[in-house]
Symmetry: C2
């Protein structure tokens, strides 16, 4: 893939559990290349867009396998700015807090619909047609998608309950 492809893939399919800016992606790819974990080349000489395509090396694959072989032993740390804001929101104007939560509700509703619209099987079939079997990968991708779906549903239910309780508060 190119750095641009990676950015798009991250934004589209893995955005809910991993995110990166293009500036970080390009610099990291260069660093990986220095460490011989990937190689890169500009495939089409005539291509004025300078698309630089990266490929993982055997050493890179080995490093990925090594990382996967070491199981996680802690809970993934989270940083959720909205919860920090809520924690300190008692003195705020009630309507301002409600508007913020209602806006978040819209965002999460849309995000849920994005996940519901993802058709992994269609993607798998397309890869299959190109000779790459990702049938077993599909099951694991589905697990991460299921997590996104469950997370959005949980968040919507929590937002609804929280909004309802703030609405019934005294000013």
């Amino acid at each position: 893939m190119t750095g641009y492809d990676l950015k798009r893939t991250l934004d589209n399919s893995t955005a809910h559990f991993w995110h990166a800016y293009h500036s970080q992606i390009y610099t990291t790819l260069r660093k990986l290349e220095q460490d011989n974990l990937v190689t890169s080349e500009v495939q089409d000489e005539d291509d004025k867009l300078n698309r630089r395509v990266y490929t993982i090396t055997d050493a890179g694959r080995a490093e990925l396998d090594r990382w996967l072989a070491q199981p996680m032993r802690e809970i993934a740390p989270t940083k959720d700015e909205l919860l920090v804001r809520l924690f300190f929101s008692a003195p705020r104007d009630k309507e301002a807090v409600l508007n913020e939560l209602r806006f978040q509700r819209q965002l999460h509703q849309r995000q849920l619909e994005v996940y519901q619209g993802i058709d992994l099987q269609h993607f798998v079939d397309a890869m299959d047609a190109r000779g790459t079997n990702v049938e077993r990968d599909r099951e694991f991708w589905q697990f991460t998608l299921n997590n996104g779906l469950a997370y959005e549903q949980m968040t919507l239910a929590w937002l609804d309950a929280t909004i309802a309780r703030i609405e019934s508060m005294d000013d």
Copy 2:
């Protein structure tokens, strides 16, 4: 509070939505002091532990209010290492993946019990006895705690379903 108190508070009550290392807390407090957003003093001259107690200034409170007045307009970005690992786990040994997920299940079960054991009302009463009314704060703290509870329950249900499906996979 002292830096140490802040670290403990973060670890105990807000760990599920915000986390910081002590090294970051101490350096950030010094920076806030340079910007006149907090003041500090070693209250007890005889105290050889050098407890440095920080207090927010009027300018600090104003800055906090200014920050709270600007509503969030995006979904909080997340980085979940476990999901990245699962995404790439198709080629891994089935039992290794299952062991990792079962261990995560234990961690989340324990975390749920920690949240279930938190008694906000007890804390509010103790503050009340010292003359600080945090009754309205309590409702907002409860919202963040509810989020933690819902998150852990959702995660446990998702882990159970994922574990069951991997168990029924071919090797």
